[in-house]
Symmetry: C2
Subunit: 500 residues, 2 copies
């Protein structure tokens, strides 16, 4: 394997870049820094079509035990490093999708391997506690070092959970509890509350709602799913709640060229939000909280302006609704700031911020007043997993030590610039290139072409993911450097050339 590592640096990389030679712009790279070089591969390397024969064989085996309809291929994670995912047939791909945006600092990062090989950490992996009742000694310290060290503005409290859906479900519960206590004027439930809640009836189980946005994605458990409106396949056949759904702005890109039209579209959506809040109050299902992603990811990488979010935040305030920002996909640095909502420039951006994916643990931050008033109201057996906090603490160390947020901003600029160039070169194929940091996307002329491009790019050694009806979303790890951007752009250029 040593021979395949990037030992000859730029020379090889350029050689690789030039080997694929579709017409159009070529992107050339600066040398990679020494530390990166030792660790990572020098580029993609494809040996079979994907999925290859070994992947197909394993899919057949797994098919006897599970639905394998969504399996892309099987991976050799031991050999995967940095930005490169290696499959079981020996194909090595530049990963610009990173396990649905959930690998923060690349595969097999040496710092994370050290966490694992440190004997002091073994107990955290083997003795998983019920965190809500019997936390380990270092839990407050690790929480302060990890989650609390990156608290969103105005929040000094965090609750860990196992995954993104559980995080949002429990955040909803926190908002409902907060809202009902506010309605009551105190936190002593009546006898009727207690009796009726046991049989799922009001007032104990109140007719409250969460307002969400068309195109939003907030998870797939039944509470979350009632606020998810990205694709029918997620929701079909599952009973739901009669909760209000507002339109999310449909903006034109690049945003700076369409400021006036976009502002009008955003104003239209905000007006609708206020109307819905009033309507649902009149229907007897008041809106306890509003949930929104800073960038609708699964729904198609739909952006809105900081001004939109500031006004929405004010509407929530005005109507006494909690404001929940779902940063499960946008959080942990991908936009060049740690949280995407930091781009709004607000001191009081939200009441609740939920996270998961690249944070390695699920959970949510909340303002003090959203802490449940009694124990066991926001509770479950595990309440997260301290072994994930250990890994997260190290991820945050690496982000700081290697200035990864700056890297993301730099790589993101190169990526978006490259997408603009390709869009100019292939105007019938690409449109609406957009993004913040490396959290970028581009629209393809139709769904079938999008899907075919994803497969062709994979066969040339670049892993990408789709979102929405016909978008490609770019979700590299935070260690995706400018020279990785160039490798990607050159392959992408070659793929696009086949459609001209």
């Amino acid at each position: 394997m040593a021979s395949s590592l990037l030992s000859r640096q730029l020379a090889l990389s350029l050689q690789y870049n030039l080997r694929l030679s579709a017409p159009g712009c070529r992107f050339a790279s600066k040398a990679a820094p020494k530390t990166q070089v030792e660790f990572e591969y020098d580029g993609p390397s494809m040996k079979t079509e994907v999925p290859g024969p070994r992947s197909k064989e394993l899919a057949k085996q797994l098919g006897e035990m599970q639905n394998v309809g969504a399996i892309n291929f099987f991976c050799n994670y031991e050999e995967s490093r940095g930005n490169y995912l290696v499959d079981v047939d020996g194909n090595r791909m530049l990963d610009v999708y990173t396990q649905i945006s959930s690998i923060p600092i690349g595969y097999s990062h040496p710092s994370l391997m050290k966490v694992l090989s440190n004997p002091n950490n073994m107990s955290a992996f083997v003795n998983r506690p019920a965190l809500g009742i019997l936390p380990p000694e270092n839990f407050p310290e690790k929480l302060a070092e990890s989650l609390l060290s990156v608290s969103p503005s105005g929040m000094s409290r965090a609750q860990t959970m196992a995954c993104g859906s559980c995080s949002n479900e429990n955040a909803f519960k926190s908002m409902f509890i907060w809202y009902r206590n506010k309605e009551r004027g105190h936190n002593n439930p009546s006898e009727e509350d207690i009796r009726s809640c046991m049989i799922n009836q009001s007032p104990g189980c109140p007719n409250l709602s969460i307002l969400s946005f068309m195109g939003g994605f907030h998870g797939r458990t039944m509470g979350c799913l009632a606020t998810t409106h990205s694709k029918a396949i997620h929701k079909l056949d599952v009973p739901s709640f009669d909760w209000p759904i507002a339109p999310f702005p449909k903006l034109k890109y690049p945003l700076e060229e369409f400021t006036r039209e976009n502002a009008q579209e955003e104003a239209r959506c905000l007006e609708e939000v206020e109307d819905l809040i009033v309507q649902w109050r009149q229907k007897g299902r008041p809106v306890a909280g509003i949930i929104i992603e800073p960038i609708q990811a699964e729904g198609g990488d739909n952006h809105a302006s900081p001004d939109f979010f500031r006004k929405l935040r004010n509407i929530a305030h005005k109507h006494g609704c909690a404001f929940h920002v779902d940063e499960v996909q946008t959080g942990c640095g991908a936009t060049g700031k740690f949280w995407a909502h930091e781009h709004w420039g607000m001191e009081d951006p939200a009441d609740i911020v939920s996270f998961s994916k690249k944070m390695l643990t699920g959970g949510f931050y909340h303002k003090d007043e959203f802490q449940a008033d009694k124990p066991y109201r926001i509770f479950n057996t595990w309440m997260g997993d301290p072994s994930k906090n250990l890994l997260l603490a190290e991820v945050l160390n690496v982000i700081r030590r290697e200035n990864l947020l700056e890297e993301v901003s730099r790589s993101g600029k190169a990526l978006l610039q490259g997408l603009y160039q390709l869009q100019a070169q292939y105007p019938n194929l690409l449109s609406s290139a957009r993004g913040v940091g490396t959290f970028c996307a581009v629209d393809i002329r139709d769904e079938a072409t999008r899907n075919s491009i994803l497969i062709k790019a994979r066969d040339k050694g670049v892993l990408l993911g789709g979102c929405g009806d016909r978008s490609i979303r770019f979700r590299p790890a935070l260690v995706f450097k400018e020279y990785h951007v160039h490798i990607f752009l050159n392959v992408f250029n070659d793929v696009l050339a086949e459609y001209n």
Copy 2:
């Protein structure tokens, strides 16, 4: 620490047993086997009240970041071994609650430590994949070795999930999808289905229901919570679904003494189940599935007979409802069989069996026809965690190698026998001792006394948990031997003596 290990075996253990000397029966132990001896402590050892000063200090720190109302104390998991949990003040307690029943083979089991220190396994802990799209090479093999090697009768398919709630939520979705396809007669949703589901409306989000039982506990996310009816604190202020709730039999113990009355009570409940199924169908909210625990755990360790479950299974069949057995707490050996439903002696016990806790990973088994017809319907980013499968595979090896199910049956008999004796000795304090394997419980005369007994037992070095209004539930690990039972019974006897 070596000096505190059980090196002098029985002598010390008996000495400890005799040191506490309340009147009444004394339980004496056989020697522990050699392998056990090397590894574990010889008994509880208490140095401070619990929580001690260090725990209190840490609770204050954590209180700045989280609700700490449910925290018992802080733990030193590095020093915890086998059946003994060590806290941060140096107190060593015999753990008969095991992190809400979620530690299968005791703390820091040497076999699990080996899994962690094996360099071949590091990647699984560091590179967490999106299992539904990019599983690791060994995933089919590890699934076969772990989950599939203990499949419930009639089931050869298993889906992993992150926790118990996610498992039940996704099991519900599987039942809804199955039911709707059955209603349609095919699996092609209409345009109206697709359009309406995006806005949470019927028929795309159909008015289907899950029938659950009063006293049942199936998790705390919003779908699960609609089937949970054990305590108001779980449900209060959270919107819910109008789903049918049947009475769970209230039996008299010991079961063999009240067979006729209990059979009548069970018949009454079953009749009510059928009535509810008919009523909800007439209301336009047909019952797609029935969910039940083999023993209602959180709700108070409520038992029902195998005959009850067999008849309930038949009712589900007769009315075309799916039958979902929730083994999150009862599964993985605690009843002396791997699954509690095995005590029913049925070849076709269920359509879905969900698990978590001692299984270390959440998930559910299902019959072939409950596999979703299309990819991405039962899906999320992580879909479990392969590092947990590695640990589970080793747990199952240990269970087999050390014949732990036999041990559980043996210890369980000693435990129940001891509870019967104590119940005879303290008839005004204890009642309704009951259990299968070590999955035992006893009722205390009232809630306040129960809570006070839990604290006194802890101060004497035995950790117990409550359930229901006034029960104590025993949830030791599978490595809880007869001599641990005796240590427990002697301490319990001493505690009870204080109330006479």
